[in-house]
């Protein structure tokens, strides 16, 4: 091998490609002070600089209900997948719940959202029915898309959910287009789009950042930074340390927040939506979060130590919210009641989905083309 011949590069690249800061730091025992995108940081250690007002307790309880609903739905789906009831790539959002819920409650009916294949939490937070959602993932006829889209393509226009996407970052320009439609029509609708840390380096992100910033589109870019792109930690492939600082290169406003705290997310998204509606253009929010389950059903998680996951449990969305509720005087019993209620609701949703009929074979050939035109529609 020619590796010994490398001459000039040895100084800074002792061993293979350029070494990531975090790795270098780990080896030298150096600090990670400037590296906010580390796997070990807790979401609460994020650089939020926004004011976070306390939300009404009933609203918080409602949010808690949603959070449990998402959590249990995801667990039910994982169980169904293990039983072989679900194929394909199913990505759950266990640990991500607060990002969806905080945002959904901060926006208005009529606003739009697009998101990634990891989109169940968004669907539920935005109001989609759990039973029909599970049916969709299982490919049943009662699914929103009649089982055609499945887990990676959650959609429900009546709820503003304009589509999850299987191609990393492809949903981002779609949201810009929704924001553009709102702008061109003189509406005050805002669009929000969710994507992961790994999506940051798809070319279309850059193109959309520029166009949205230039045209001051009423758009919110929301990065759910869980520090992993599938099985690869983000520091291994990213040249930028602080994701939230990057969009400033386009003159965009941005912030890094605790994505596991519904109140923080709610405050950040509210602020961004206000900016958008006032014509000041897009805002970029980096919500620091962590994925507590595998990248997708079946993931053996060999790429991260159990201790890392363990540490993150300390600040996962349900824990954070439960603590908050207790601290503000809500009785344990009230919380348990919600837990039980939701547990039942999920059982019902699962039975609904499991007994939903398979779509007819003839359905295969429908929905490719529409036969109508603008005159008729």
């Amino acid at each position: 091998m020619k590796q010994a011949e490398r001459a000039l590069h040895t100084q800074t690249m002792p061993d293979g490609l350029a070494q990531p800061r975090a790795e270098a730091d780990a080896q030298t025992g150096g600090s990670l002070l400037h590296a906010s995108i580390t796997t070990n940081a807790l979401p609460s250690e994020s650089k939020s600089a926004i004011e976070v007002p306390e939300l009404d307790i009933e609203l918080l309880l409602d949010m808690y209900r949603k959070a449990v609903l998402i959590r249990l739905l995801e667990k039910a789906l994982l169980a169904a997948a293990e039983e072989g009831q679900i194929g394909g790539a199913m990505h759950t959002a266990i640990g991500h719940e607060a990002n969806a819920i905080g945002a959904a409650y901060a926006l208005r009916s009529g606003d739009y959202i697009t998101c990634t294949y990891r989109g169940h939490h968004h669907g539920i937070a935005w109001g989609m029915d759990p039973g029909r959602s599970i049916a969709e993932v299982m490919g049943r006829s009662d699914g929103f898309a009649k089982g055609k889209g499945g887990s990676m393509h959650f959609v429900s226009p009546q709820h503003g959910m304009m589509g999850a996407n299987g191609i990393v970052a492809a949903q981002v320009p779609h949201a810009a287009g929704l924001a553009l439609a709102s702008h061109l029509r003189g509406e005050s609708k805002v669009a929000i789009t969710f994507f992961g840390d790994g999506a940051m380096f798809q070319g279309v992100m850059h193109e959309t950042f520029n166009m949205a910033a230039k045209w001051k589109l009423p758009l919110i870019f929301y990065c759910e930074n869980n520090r992993y792109s599938e099985m690869t930690p983000i520091w291994r492939t990213s040249s930028i340390e602080d994701i939230y600082l990057f969009p400033r290169a386009y003159g965009m406003a941005s912030m890094q927040i605790d994505g596991n705290d519904v109140e923080v997310v709610h405050a950040a998204v509210s602020q961004a939506a206000e900016r958008a509606r006032s014509g000041y253009g897009p805002t970029f929010i980096e919500g620091i979060t962590y994925r507590l389950a595998g990248h997708m059903a079946g993931d053996l998680e060999t790429y991260r130590p159990p201790e890392e996951v363990e540490k993150q449990q300390a600040h996962e969305p349900l824990t954070v919210l439960r603590k908050k509720l207790l601290a503000r005087g809500v009785e344990e019993a009230r919380i348990s009641e919600i837990d039980e209620e939701v547990d039942e609701a999920i059982d019902e949703a699962v039975s609904f989905a499991e007994t939903s009929p398979w779509p007819d074979a003839a359905e295969t050939y429908l929905d490719v083309f529409s036969e109508s035109t603008s005159e008729e529609s």
């Binding site: 304009m162 589509g163 779609h174 287009g177 959309t208 490719v368 083309f369 035109t373 603008s374």
Partner: protein, 328 residues
């Protein structure tokens, strides 16, 4: 009827649709203040303003995706790709997103948008500015593909495309832009339906099914074949590539018994092969000789005019193939 250029016909279609429906907007590179590299969108920004004619950066992926986003809430974007070769730059948005959106959402959302621009060879633009993408678009279900050859059809089909509730790839050809043809004046509105072929020359010996600029080459070839060899070709202008109006082709075939499909996109896995395969699926009894197809040679389209001519499936090659088929 008055005569107009192909470019003028397109410009009128866009203007009339912008006027008719305020959800229509144009988006693309250099199309606004400048009026389009090929002047198809000339004067439209002046008339309709910056909110109806949007100048973009060179970001085909983003503005294609934005068009989809706007379309799913009922806007009707008309996206210009300066050269249809750039389809490949935005291919994910076009084929993984736009083509599939209606299906993946179980029909909840539709994507009524038009992707238009010019394609084709003949002007020595070389490998990356001369490709014909009709077969590529047709391969993926979910997008209608239209490629008119005359100013009349161009105007009528572009208006239909904008009104269609499906995504439509509207493929122009650089060799057609300055051609002239009859078309009613703007006061007399008309549409040409998507999905209907048109017999542009009646004949009895052999059916040439083609579209876009190849139609002109085929008509020319048919004249020469008639005069020089007494072979009387019927020339069917498919006009739409997806869906293919095979009915009209089979009707012609019922008369002639011989089929030659011609197009400028690559022959390999092209529309011509498709038409041949369908002929044997749907109408084998009509064929009195093996059906054939002609397409671009399997090369990357050279700049040198000496070579480009050789690669193009134009008049000479059409004549040679017809003669060969007639000898059987």
């Amino acid at each position: 009827m008055r005569r107009t250029t192909y470019i003028q016909a397109l410009n009128e279609a866009l203007r009339e649709e912008l006027q008719r429906d305020e959800d229509v907007f144009l988006i693309g590179e250099d199309i606004g203040h400048y009026g389009g590299l090929f002047r198809v969108t000339r004067n439209l920004l002046d008339e309709f303003g910056e909110k109806r004619v949007l100048d973009t950066p060179i970001s085909e992926q983003a503005f294609m995706g934005m068009a989809l986003g706007a379309a799913i809430v009922g806007m009707r974007p008309v996206v210009e790709l300066m050269y249809m070769d750039f389809t490949l730059v935005a291919a994910d948005q076009i084929f993984n997103q736009i083509a599939k959106y209606r299906y993946m959402t179980g029909g909840l959302l539709k994507a009524p948008l038009v992707i238009r621009g010019q394609q084709g060879g003949g002007k020595h633009y070389g490998s990356q500015h001369s490709q014909s993408v009709d077969s590529l678009y047709a391969h993926f279900p979910g997008i209608r593909v239209v490629a008119p050859a005359t100013p009349y059809d161009a105007k009528g089909l572009l208006k239909s495309a904008i009104r269609d509730d499906n995504p439509v790839a509207f493929l122009e050809h650089k060799m057609l832009y300055f051609t002239r043809g009859e078309a009613p004046p703007p006061e007399e509105e008309y549409l040409v339906p998507i999905g209907k072929a048109d017999v542009k020359r009646a004949g009895s010996d052999l059916t040439i099914a083609t579209f876009s600029y190849c139609l002109l080459q085929a008509l020319d070839a048919a004249e020469s074949l008639q005069q020089e060899h007494g072979i009387d070709c019927e020339v069917v202008d498919l006009r739409t590539v997806e869906p293919l109006d095979t009915e009209t082709v089979w009707e012609s075939l019922a008369k002639t018994g011989r089929l030659l499909a011609v197009h400028e996109s690559y022959a390999n896995c092209g529309v011509g092969a498709e038409l041949v395969a369908r002929a044997y699926e749907e109408a084998p009894h009509l064929l009195r000789a093996p059906a054939r197809r002609l397409g671009m040679a399997p090369v990357s389209i050279p700049v040198s005019r000496a070579l480009e001519e050789e690669a193009l499936p134009w008049k000479e090659e059409i004549m040679a193939t017809v003669l060969e088929m007639s000898r059987r």
